[in-house]
């Protein structure tokens, strides 16, 4: 009989403690961010989708070696290049040299797993992570990023 | 007597009770499951209650008696329902059916 009543009493007490805790929380400030109206800044190392890095001329640093393409586990990078002849002054005389120029750098973000293998594998520091995370669309095609175009847009 | 003054006449209630009673009888005869028969018998009880209440309202000198009687009927009906249904459940457990004909068949 004593156990019966003590259980009732202790039970009621534990319930009251719980109510006290939630009551205290009731008056604390909110911790959430009203998302579409207010966005938070991502940390420095945040790994968004990749982005090409430009050199001083505003051209992509990428030399189209294809390392990132090979490192990618999901095969979501596809790039193309063409050889462009250009003239360079070597020891006082002009020589024509061939150089690969990036013509296409597509990222299929739908399969990208944001692992960062491409950035790590790049020996030229030509790709980096963006800080973008507001990515939502009804259209699958919106996630096929043409990174070259994005670079141009950024420059202009 | 106009249609709209029916509620002040004893006969209306008696007719209503009679119809409910008839429905109860019909259900009791035609239903083939125990539960259905129980539902029908509840109708019969209600019909008799209406009768009692009607006489209580229109003829009896002390209108308390009829109400008390109806309350007793309710108590008995509740007890009857409980017992009847527990019997139904027990029958179902034993014979796997509440169909009265099949129960008879099973008994041989």
């Amino acid at each position: 009989m004593g156990a019966y009543f003590s259980e009732i009493f202790l039970g009621l007490k534990s319930l009251a403690i719980g109510l006290g805790i939630t009551f205290k929380e009731f008056f604390k400030p909110v911790v959430t961010v009203p998302y579409p109206f207010e966005t938070i800044k991502m940390s420095e190392r945040y790994r968004g989708h990749i982005e090409l890095i430009e050199d001083e001329d505003g051209k992509p640093k990428c030399v189209a070696c294809g390392m990132c393409q090979r490192a990618c586990p999901s095969g979501c990078i596809s790039l193309a290049s063409k050889s462009v002849a250009y003239e360079v002054e070597v020891k006082g005389e002009m020589k024509t040299k061939k150089k690969k120029v990036l013509t296409k750098y597509d990222l299929n973000f739908t399969t990208c797993s944001l692992c960062g293998q491409c950035v790590e594998s790049c020996g030229f520091g030509a790709v980096t992570f963006s800080k973008e995370y507001n990515l939502a669309s009804f259209n699958k095609e919106d996630f096929h990023f043409d990174l070259l175009k994005r670079l141009e847009e950024r420059n202009s | 007597m106009s249609m709209l003054n029916l509620h002040n006449s004893l006969t209306t209630y008696l007719v209503l009770a009679a119809i409910l009673f008839g429905m109860g009888i019909y259900g009791l005869i035609t239903r083939r499951t125990l539960v259905g028969m129980l539902i029908a018998s509840e109708l019969i009880l209600v019909a008799s209650s209406i009768n009692i209440m009607a006489f209580n309202r229109f003829t009896a000198p002390d209108p308390v008696i009829g109400q008390i009687f109806t309350l007793f009927i309710m108590a008995i009906a509740a007890a009857e329902a409980a017992i009847g249904l527990s019997i139904t459940v027990a029958v179902y457990r034993n014979y796997k059916t509440v169909d009265t004909e099949e129960i008879v068949d099973l008994k041989g």
């Binding site: 534990s14 929380e25 940390s43 420095e44 490192a71 586990p73 944001l114 692992c115 960062g116 293998q117 | -």
Partner: protein, 372 residues
């Protein structure tokens, strides 16, 4: 409410719990043969999000598999990548700098706490209390912020590398972590008062879902399930890997074998993880985070390698059968919840459905990890 129940089979009906059910936390299906509220027989149906990670592991090079591992268990991803890098380091004999080892332990333990916090919230939500989930998520958010600042991602980390780490931690992180620890301790006390002491909560868990030590052994259950059954088993202690042998921490063990014991184990484990984090922060040595000498292409010599780690859910093992190429010949993932879940069918027989679902919650299921 347990014990032998004599149930006639002809009065039962089949209840499909899942694949879409609030209590299964994902796409798990349990076909339950019910007699009223009692479960007569249960059969778990898996594979709704089976992705064949093992085949992917055979088709990709070792570094390429690394991000896959964190997709197994999205709540405690760090521990799974840890297992992979440890296995490859064991196989290819790569030395790991001490600083990297400490940071790894730090990260894994932080991740363990965040996983347990989320489990705590989800478990109480299974029992019908929604608010603790929100508190737990808020606390977890602080940990995720810490980990994002270091690893760059919040959920599916790809931070460990063979032989070291992707990048180093800075003083800001260390200070922030030190600041988070007392905060978490305070929260744990709050949870204790709000949930653990609550009579409704205790009544729902005490004596519910008994899993004995013998049953654990027969089914190979590990982690908090085994520790809640009185088994003193933790891979971190029993088979120390990384630098765990240098930390002073306890393994919480409860002998009640019920859901409450498993709950208590996890709640105590968070406290122990905090202790490990404190020690790791104190002992964190200076130095490089990547080895000086590291093979460019990882090609472990021919042979079998097995590496077990203690993740938030139990003993996770990776078996790599190497044939000396850059791909694994066989890449086997032994996931702890798979074994833990396999005893559910037997354990829930004769239980009421709400007790069975409470027990399912106490197993801490992450479905992608079961299905792999």
């Amino acid at each position: 409410m347990s014990g032998p129940i004599h149930i006639r089979s002809d009065e039962t009906f089949t209840l499909n719990v899942g694949p879409q059910h609030p209590a299964t936390h994902g796409v798990l299906r349990v076909k339950m043969e019910m007699d009223g509220e009692y479960i007569v027989k249960a059969e778990t149906v898996l594979g709704y999000i089976h992705r064949m990670h093992e085949l992917m592991g055979e088709n990709r090079t070792y570094p390429q598999v690394l991000p896959n591992l964190s997709r197994l268990d999205y709540l405690g991803a760090m521990g799974y990548t840890h297992a992979h890098v440890l296995a490859i380091e064991r196989a290819a004999s790569i030395e790991v700098p001490e600083r990297a080892e400490y940071i790894r332990v730090l990260m894994v333990e932080l991740n363990r706490i965040s996983s347990h916090l989320f489990w705590f919230g989800a478990f109480v939500m299974d029992l019908g209390g929604f608010t603790p989930l929100m508190y737990a998520i808020e606390d977890r958010e602080h940990i995720l912020d810490l980990m994002e600042a270091v690893t760059g991602s919040r959920l599916t980390y790809c931070y460990f590398r063979f032989g070291g780490l992707y990048n180093d931690v800075d003083d800001d992180f260390i200070n922030a972590t030190r600041a988070v620890i007392p905060r978490l301790r305070k929260s744990l006390k709050k949870y204790d008062a709000l949930v653990t002491g609550n009579i409704i909560f205790r009544k729902r868990l005490e004596g519910i879902g008994p899993i004995s030590a013998e049953m654990c052994r027969k089914y190979g259950a590990t982690g908090p399930v085994a520790r809640g059954a009185g088994l003193d088993f933790d891979v971190r202690k029993n088979e120390p890997y990384s630098v765990y042998s240098e930390f002073d921490f306890d393994i919480p063990v409860y002998h009640e074998c019920d859901s409450l014991a498993r709950y208590n184990v996890r709640m105590d484990e968070m406290e122990q993880s905090l202790r490990i984090i404190e020690q790791a922060l104190d002992k964190l040595p200076e130095g490089p985070i990547m080895p000086k000498k590291k093979p460019k292409l990882i090609k472990p010599p021919k042979g079998d390698y097995y590496q077990a780690v203690e993740t938030a859910r139990g003993s996770f093992g990776i078996r790599i059968v190497s044939d000396g190429t850059k791909n694994a010949y066989r890449f086997k993932l032994r996931s702890p919840t798979y074994s833990n879940m396999s005893l559910f069918d037997e354990a829930c027989e004769g239980m009421m459905i709400m007790d069975a679902l409470a027990m399912m919650g106490s197993l801490d299921l992450v479905i992608p990890e079961i299905d792999r």
